[in-house]
C-alpha cells in the first residue's frame, strides 16, 4: 500500500509510518528538555528568584548539562535486586508514554496515525506504566521503594476512573457530520473531536469536566499535590530511589513526556485544538504553521497551570488522596455522564450542559470544603496506641 507524505506520492505505508515516528520522537526529545528548563525558570519566577542563568545564554543549556551528567553516572545495581523486574521497569514506564504519542493530533494530518479508537488507545496505554512503577518499587529490594511503589500504584489506579469518565463524557456528545448531511453523536476519533469544535470549544459545554480532567491529570502525572510517590520527606525518591544515571533519566523523561501528551490532549479535546478559531477544511483556514502555533499556545496554558499549582499547594496524604478520588471526583463524573446521556437522548438544548457544569463546579467546591472541615478520622488503633505511649 502506498500513501503520500509531504506531497511525495506513492510512499510505502511502513516507510511513511517510520518517518512520522522519527520526526515525532526527535521533536519530543527537544520539547521535553525545553519543558524541564521552562519548569525551573517558571517555578523560580513564582518564588521571586531567577532560575538557571549560567549554563549557556540565560541558562538554556541547563537540560543538556543535566542530561550529560546523568549519562555519565555510574550504573548501580543493588545486589539483591530482582534482575528481571529491576531491569525492565524503566522500559515499562518509558515505552507506553512514547506509544501514547501515536494519536496526538498536532495539526490536521500531522500525526503518526489517525485511529478510530484514539481516546481508548490513549487511556489503555497510559495504564501500562503503573505496572512499571510497581516493578520498580518491588524490584529495588528497598523498603522505601516498595512503599513508594505501592502508593504510586494505588494513586494511579484510583485516578484513572475520573480521568476516563471525563474523556468519555466529552466523547459522548461530539458531533460528527456524516456524508449524507446527517449528524451522528459520539466518537473516539481525536480528529473528529477536534473538528467538531470549530465553532465552540468543549470547555464551554463541559466546565466541570475540564476541572476534573485537570485534577485527575495531575494525579496521573504524579505532580503536586499528588506527588507522594516521588516527593515525600521520608521516601525521597519513591520507587526510583535505587536507580541512577541513564535509567533514572528515563523515568524523568517519561514524566515530562507524559506531561506533554496530557497537555496536547487537553488542547485537542477541550480547547479546540487546531480547529478553533482557525476553521477546518475551508479555504479561509489559517495556514498550517499558524495552526501549529495555536496548538502550542493552548498546550502551554495547561503546562503553565501545572507549574503554577506546583508552586502553590502542599502535598496530600495518601488516605486523603484516595478519599478525594473515590468519594468526590467519581460521583461527580458519574452524574455528569448521566446528564450528558440525557441531553443526548432527549435532544435538549446544549446550554443545559453548561449550566449543569457550573453547578457541578460549585458542588465540587462545597464537597471539598465539607470534607476538610469535618473532624479528622484517626486510624482505628490510634486511641489504644496513644494510651500505651504515655
Amino acid at each position: 500500500m502506498s500513501t503520500e507524505i509531504f506531497g511525495i506520492e506513492n510512499v510505502n505505508v511502513w516507510v511513511d509510518g517510520l518517518i512520522r515516528v522519527l520526526l515525532i520522537v526527535g521533536f519530543m526529545t527537544v520539547v521535553v528538555m525545553g519543558l524541564i528548563y521552562g519548569e525551573r525558570k517558571i517555578l523560580a519566577r513564582f518564588q521571586q528568584r531567577l532560575g538557571p542563568t549560567r549554563t549557556g545564554p540565560m541558562g538554556l543549556l541547563q537540560s543538556v548539562a543535566d542530561a550529560l551528567k546523568l549519562v555519565g553516572k555510574e550504573d548501580l545495581r543493588p545486589r539483591n535486586a530482582d534482575p528481571w523486574t529491576f531491569e525492565l521497569a524503566p522500559y515499562l514506564v518509558f515505552v507506553p508514554v512514547f506509544l501514547g504519542f501515536v494519536i496526538v493530533p498536532f495539526v490536521l494530518d500531522w500525526q503518526i496515525r489517525i485511529l478510530e479508537l484514539g481516546l481508548l488507545y490513549f487511556v489503555a496505554i497510559t495504564g501500562v506504566n503503573i505496572v512499571g512503577w510497581i516493578m520498580a518499587g518491588w524490584g529495588s529490594d528497598n523498603r522505601y521503594a516498595m512503599i513508594g511503589g505501592m502508593r504510586a500504584a494505588a494513586q494511579g489506579i484510583s485516578y484513572e476512573l475520573p480521568l476516563v469518565l471525563a474523556l468519555v463524557s466529552v466523547a459522548m456528545v461530539v458531533e460528527v457530520p456524516l456524508a449524507d448531511g446527517e449528524v451522528a453523536r459520539g466518537s473516539l476519533n481525536l480528529n473528529e473531536i477536534v473538528a467538531s469544535q470549530h465553532e465552540v470549544p468543549n470547555i464551554v459545554w463541559q466546565p466541570l469536566v475540564v476541572v476534573v480532567f485537570f485534577i485527575a491529570g495531575l494525579a496521573e502525572l504524579n505532580r503536586t499535590p499528588f506527588d507522594i510517590p516521588v516527593g515525600e520527606s521520608e521516601v525521597v525518591g519513591g520507587p526510583f530511589v535505587e536507580y541512577s544515571g541513564i535509567r533514572w533519566s528515563m523515568f524523568f523523561l517519561a514524566e515530562y513526556a507524559a506531561l506533554l501528551i496530557m497537555s496536547l490532549l487537553f488542547a485537542a479535546v477541550f480547547l479546540g485544538g487546531w480547529a478553533w478559531p482557525a476553521g477546518i477544511f475551508t479555504d479561509e483556514d489559517w495556514p498550517r504553521w499558524a495552526q501549529a502555533l495555536l496548538v502550542a499556545g493552548k498546550a502551554s496554558i495547561f503546562v503553565f497551570m501545572v507549574f503554577w499549582v506546583r508552586a502553590s499547594v502542599p502535598r496530600l496524604r495518601i488516605d486523603q488522596l484516595m478519599g478525594f478520588s473515590w468519594k468526590i471526583l467519581l460521583p461527580l463524573m458519574l452524574a455528569q455522564v448521566m446528564v450528558n446521556g440525557l441531553v443526548l437522548v432527549y435532544d435538549w438544548p446544549e446550554i443545559i450542559l453548561t449550566v449543569v457544569g457550573l453547578i457541578g463546579i460549585v458542588a465540587l467546591f462545597a464537597m471539598v470544603d465539607r470534607a476538610v472541615r469535618q473532624p479528622r478520622q484517626r486510624p482505628a488503633s490510634a486511641a489504644q496506641l496513644q494510651s500505651e505511649a504515655v
Binding site: F46, Q48, R49, W308, V309, A311, S312, V313, D369
Partner: protein
C-alpha cells in the same frame, strides 16, 4: 477549593514582582561600615611600621586562642635614632582564620588600636585549598592596610 485559589493568587502576585536574586560574583552587595570579617593589623604610614607592639593583650583575650604573638625590640626607636616612640614592635603574629570566631574582643582590648576587623569583601572571600593556608602571618595581615585599602570603623 477557594483557599487553594487564594494561594495561587498569592503566588501569581509574586510572579509579577522583581526577582530578589543577586548574581554573585558578578555583583557584590555593598557592605555596611561595621561589617565584621576577620581581623587585620594596621600599618602606621607616618613612620612606616605596624601599630602593633606585641603586648599580648589580644592573645590573652581571645576566647578560642587563635593568635600567636612574638615581640622584639624596635630598631626604629628614638633610642636608636629612629622616629618611632614604640619601644617594642611586633616580630611575628599568626592568626588562624579557621579558629577565629570574629567576636571583636581583640579589637576591644587592644591598647594601641593596632588591630581591626576587616570590613571589605576581601575579608569574606578567604577560601583556600589547604586548611593550613588559613593561618595568616604578619605580612599577610599587614598587606591590605599597607596598600591603603582599609577604612576601619572604630566604636566610640
Amino acid at each position: 477549593m477557594k483557599g487553594i485559589l487564594k494561594s495561587m493568587m498569592v503566588t501569581a502576585s509574586t510572579f509579577a514582582r522583581k526577582p530578589v536574586t543577586r548574581e554573585y560574583p558578578e555583583s557584590h552587595r555593598e557592605l555596611p561600615e561595621r561589617d565584621r570579617a576577620f581581623p587585620l593589623l594596621l600599618w602606621d604610614e607616618d613612620i612606616n611600621e605596624p601599630f602593633c607592639t606585641g603586648c599580648h593583650a589580644c592573645e590573652r583575650a581571645c576566647p578560642v586562642e587563635c593568635m600567636t604573638v612574638i615581640m622584639k625590640d624596635n630598631p626604629n626607636h628614638t633610642a636608636h635614632d629612629g622616629p618611632s616612640k614604640r619601644r617594642k614592635i611586633i616580630d611575628s603574629f599568626y592568626i588562624d582564620y579557621g579558629r577565629c570566631m570574629r567576636c571583636n574582643i581583640c579589637v576591644e582590648v587592644c591598647n594601641f588600636e593596632a588591630i581591626a576587623m576587616n570590613n571589605t569583601w576581601q575579608g569574606h572571600e578567604t577560601s583556600v585549598y589547604d586548611r593550613s593556608d588559613l593561618v595568616m602571618d604578619l605580612p599577610q595581615l599587614l598587606a591590605e592596610s599597607k596598600a591603603g585599602e582599609i577604612q576601619e570603623w572604630v566604636a566610640e
